[in-house]
Amino acid sequence: MTQGGLEMVSRSARGRRWVGLVTVLIVLAGIGTAASGAEPPQLRIGIHTEEGWMTPYSYVTGYPGLPFVRMIYDTLFIMNAERTPVPWMVREYSTSEDGLTWTLKLHEGIEFHDGTPLTSADVAFSYTFMTLHGHGPWQRSLRGIKSVEATDEHTVVIQLERVLPLFKQVPLAEVVIIPRHVWEGVTDPKTITDATGSGPYRLVEYQSGQFYRLEAHPNYFHAEQKPSVASIIVPFIPDATTMFMALKAGEIDMGTRDVPPEMVADLAGTAGLKVERGPSYVSTLLAINNQRPPFNQVDFRRALELVVDVQYLVDIIRLGQATIGSPGFVHPMSPWVAAVPEAVKQDFAAAARLLDGLGFTDRNGDGLREDPQGNRFQQTIITSAERPERVRVAQIIGDWFKQAGLDTVVQAMEHTTVQARVWPDFDVTKGRDYDLAVWGWSAGVQENPLNLWEVLHTRGTLNVGAFSDPAVDAIAERLLGVTNRDDFRPVVEELARTTAGKVPFITLWYPDNSYAYRPEAHDGWVYVRGLGILDKLSLIGPVVAGGGPVGPVGARSLPWIVLAVVLAGAGIVVARRKRRS
């Protein structure tokens, strides 16, 4: 054979190899597509954090962890979509005249996921156990309870130490019921991995780093409200962009992440997707260190407030998808107020007058104000680098402060570091190390009026700015004395009005929350006032058809099998080449 012939053979062999490679890829994609097309009907909810075993003692975050825990475990009362407590496991209830004794009768036929009947003894056990073992909201919710007694199989009698005006909300709609036969004798509850509850869904699988699988509780007690999907797969998708792309591509049916304002229109316009948007009780604020001069002077804080245009921030950063922050902190939609103080209008001239009055003037003509002693003054805003929205708001506010003559530096840092500077060890008594910080409180802080005491009172555990004002303290104290739910309103309104003039911090906005989902997979999502759509209420209702459980799990051995396949393939190629050579 000639050299030209050899080259031709070689070229055609090379060509064959490429054709082979392309064929393999097509076959691989084809088999995979066929396989993925065979997926059983089930709801896929992408979750952005991993929440451990999802027991009441091992979940990690209030959102999205706690809503899933509430799907697995039931409560005696439930908060409806308007966030009003209504009976759930409780069939009927009564209170004594002095409001200190509550008698609760449970529905009959309630079962735990393992088939064990749930009785009043489990309720008494849960309340006692959680009083003894602190974690998350449980122990705090049970303060003020004197005793819990199971008087018969379905009756629980709870004695209170004092009248609790929010008793139906906290703890009855808050504290979950755990099975005594699983938790009895447990000394370290965090080590328990058995998530048997009595809620509408049971946890049937947890693959670390990958997903949860929940299935409908087949014997759920409620006559009308049954689990509305048969099976829920909850894959972990930490990256926001990946989660939203997966939603668009139809790989998940709902994402637990709040859709950022700039993506709402895009996702809402995607075929097959819907976006549910609503106000949220979450708050974003500019925290001020009231302990550190000159921030300890109310006029200085007022000057800062006067240069911040919260309307502009909502328009530019949130694209209008937020409620403007009230200087009284309380959300205008809060059930505890009829009206809240309005945001202060931006007024550089008024701010300048206040600063001049305090002795902060520009003495060297560099455009920046020196302190009353003539020394250079500089303030720093710290913010989480992981949250671009917060970095942006810090930069805009920093520019406004500079415009007012206050030299301002913005430092973006790891979120945990910001936490450690603002709230070291989550203990306000340990001090603080910041001037100003872009900060936020979760929705739960606005939900319970007693939390206002924690945020605003001198001794409050959430008072990260060390704010202290006798007038505010006096009103906050009155909150603790309220004995009737309806009596909170005038006190909260007065507290908000008084706080507004003292500027303990600058409330910037309460964001709207937007969640995207595929209505084709499930269209029963309920927007719970101030919170969002990931809630037990969204996943109970009329029963619809759905896929059942799928085969036993062999995921642990899967990577090894595939690794073996890959290595075997490589070995065969090498061996063949060796034989040929």
Partner: protein, 324 residues
């Protein structure tokens, strides 16, 4: 010989101890503490006594030196500790994640080495030509792109737009335990985009090493002789010159293999792949000290093991080393 092995062993032991100490003290020097992970989000509303009790239960109230001593003692007993964040033993968490990371990184490493060797050899053969400069520019361009960006581009094109490959995870839950062929194919399909991202980013190192090594070898007499004998270009390039040029590549490969255990944090996070890199990242964010210590220890041991294997293999690969 025995003396050399002994001194090397001592060196490795000292290295391991130093790494253990660094792994222990560095995370604790970072601002923040693991209380929020220990107690959940409502840690703020816990009483100071309850918080203290929690710290005592996890031994975090003791002086650092005492905690370090306890850590070393547990380690000597084969106990890597208990993860605050995940409520599971560190060893069991690592055992779950390690296979996925190995699957991801060794597949990527193998592919990028093969591609790097072939392209590097080819570019050297065409030194100074447009093919050489073009390949080098393309490879360096890929290397200089941020990993999350490459991952996002692949995800957007092949995942979201064309929908050829799945976008997250290591497998689809409903396939496991069902048809085994479909499950294996599903795992390979989930591997496609993260592996491609890693190959695009990682080929440059092997390419450059191979190219420079090949340039040295191509000047040797035996290569000229092989050419003079009229052997085909590919045979001279990959069989005669390539084999000798592979020595530095083998070193790079072995070292990379050691680091492969650490996974690829960004890639694993973007593709929600359940590997060691993502685990480490989440442990850092949660200040999960035991998990951090455990993962770093495993990586350290893997790098040292890879070094030892490279030391042992090198004389087999290169007879000149054996003769000295």
């Amino acid at each position: 010989m025995r003396g050399r092995i002994g001194s090397q062993l001592v060196q490795y032991l000292v290295l391991i101890f130093l790494t253990l100490a660094l792994n222990f003290f560095l995370p604790r020097a970072m601002p923040g503490n693991p209380l929020s992970r220990l107690a959940g989000e409502d840690v703020a509303l816990m009483s100071p006594e309850a918080r203290q009790e929690l710290l005592v239960r996890h031994g975090l109230d003791r002086p650092l030196a005492v905690q370090f001593g306890i850590f070393l003692r547990s380690l000597a007993q084969g106990d890597l500790g208990y993860s605050f964040q995940r409520n599971a033993s560190v060893a069991s968490i690592i055992a779950e994640r390690l296979p996925w990371t190995l699957l991801l990184t060794t597949t990527a490493l193998t592919l990028q080495t093969l591609i790097g060797v072939m392209l590097g050899g080819w570019a050297a053969w065409r030194r100074g030509g447009s093919a050489d400069y073009g390949t080098m520019a393309a490879v360096m361009l890929c290397r200089s792109m941020p990993s999350f960006w490459i991952a996002m581009i692949l995800l957007a094109i092949f995942g979201a737009e064309l929908r050829w490959f799945p976008m997250f995870g290591a497998f689809k839950p409903w396939l496991v335990g069902g048809d085994s062929l479909a499950a294996v194919v599903d795992v390979l399909r989930h591997l496609a985009l993260p592996v491609t991202s890693m190959v695009v980013l990682g080929t440059a190192e092997t390419f450059m090493t191979m190219r420079y090594s090949m340039l040295d070898v191509l000047g040797e007499d035996y290569v000229r002789t092989a050419r003079a004998k009229g052997l085909r270009e590919a045979v001279v390039l990959y069989k005669h010159a390539g084999r000798n040029a592979l020595l530095p590549v083998a070193t790079v490969f072995m070292l990379s293999l050691g680091f492969a255990v650490g996974g690829a944090t960004v890639i694993e996070t973007v593709f929600a792949y359940p590997g060691m890199g993502r685990l480490m990242y989440e442990a850092v964010l949660g200040r999960d000290y035991p998990l951090l210590q455990g993962t770093f220890l495993v990586i350290t041991l893997a790098v040292i093991a890879a070094n030892i294997v490279a030391d042992l293999l090198y004389p087999l690969v290169d007879p000149r080393v054996r003769s000295t």
